[in-house]
Amino acid sequence: MARFAIALHGGAGTLIKGNMTPDKEKAYKKVLSEALQKGYTVLENDGAAVDAVQEAVMCMEDSALFNAGKGSVFSANGTHEMEAAIMEGKTRKAGAVALLTGIKNPISVARDVMEKSQHVFLLGQGALEFAKSMDHVLQDSKYFYDEFRYQQWQEIKGSSQFQLDHSKSKNSKFG
């Protein structure tokens, strides 16, 4: 049997060391470790890479610490619009969703788009209807509310600024 491996990320940016308390750092590392363990266990038990990455990502989506799923940031109108994508290297099948609201685990919807639809990318209402038809878990706005994320939004609400999950505001224009 060949070697196997898993790697994961929980976002990048200007992670000011002064803002990172030992307790916060411990909390982030705890979730990262749990996600890593879930994914690695799949591989260790001869599972497929696609199952391992889904497990790991779902674990992080269920944490309020990371900007995905439960921890998603506030968009300009105070909602949470999520995106997710998954791809298999053997078949090069891919599935993705975007502008999706109210779904607990967007990555699992992307997986179903890949495996159970004839499409690659579903957006907005269409993605939500597809998720519902596949019995994905729905959550109301209370589930996605986080005081820290709310305050982040309040700082720039009403302006044209936006902010990466772990960075300062960015004003530069995109081409």
Partner: protein, 135 residues
Amino acid sequence: TVGAVACDRRSNLAAATSTGGMTNKMIGRLGDSAVPGAGNYANNKTCAVSCTGSGEYFLRGVVAYDVSCLMEMKNMTLQEAAEEVIQRRILEIGGDGGLIAVDAEANISLPFNTEGMYRAFQTSDGVAGVKIYKD
């Protein structure tokens, strides 16, 4: 943004990426790293990649696919291709962020050009780590 890449015992690769976008982003804005090709890609011939950072730049750079192309067309190693994209190409267009990648031999690469990237990794050889800042 969160993501994972893996190489299983059969050398099959996969990548997953999920994000809540950007705080105060315009409604209807699509374009974080969870877009196939831009921030998420897998090909057993080359690598599996999941990106994080300023999504628009990853779209413009078709970053995840670019890593794969550099390996396939220029015979770069995973590490060389990932470093080339994150430490040079994406910076040239003003982008910031990082990626995680794995190839079919279970080599991993986790470059980023920001102050930190929440990341973790484990191989069947016993190499493992959970890190935030550049060490």
